[in-house]
Symmetry: C2
Amino acid sequence: MTRMSRSAAAEHRASVFKALGEPTRLRIVDYLRSRTRDATGTEIAAHVGISLALLCHHTDELVECGLLTKRKEGQTSLWHLNGDRLAATVAHFVD
Amino acid sequence: MTRMSRSAAAEHRASVFKALGEPTRLRIVDYLRSRTRDATGTEIAAHVGISLALLCHHTDELVECGLLTKRKEGQTSLWHLNGDRLAATVAHFVD
DNA sequence: GTCATGGTTCAATGCTTGTTAAACTATTAA
DNA sequence: TTAATAGTTTAACAAGCATTGAACCATGAC
């Protein structure tokens, strides 16, 4: 995050919270946090108990707000949790 | 928070993030955090730039998820930010 | 080539949510 | 009692969102 107006920063911070404010997405993030290695789509979908189609939808939103990054290896996709972004967003509320 | 199942706790945590995931509500919380004393409805509404009716709607949701508490003094209402609840929700993401 | 696997996109559906304006209650002031 | 202030509730509307199933596109195995 290089430079950003105060309100734009607030909007962005809100978009991260919004992404976390959906139980399924929160479980995706929690699952990724519980692991050491990045996870494939099938792994996440199975663990969270949703279809791949729905996973795609949710990960799109998590990627959009910068919480996740995606990388392709052959036909499988690997998702990585951006811990720094998460910590930075939350840092506003830690004294 | 006395006792709660793992999934119920996750749902509740999500509800807090959801409340914070709306720019107007995030500004309400930020404003309350920037102050030392509790704030009246008119103060908050003026600072955030919304009507009292809309403020009522948003504070209802913030009270619902335990982030705010309300107290009445005469005809004015005073809102208090529950910093502990906020810190507890966010603590999951701080190593 | 054919087939299965892993993921993505699309369209449709129904539910939720943010916002507005108007009506309403309770308290304080004149 | 009348009027203003502070907040609440309600109804209504548009916009957004989560979910589903089907179609689609690559990649890898046979």
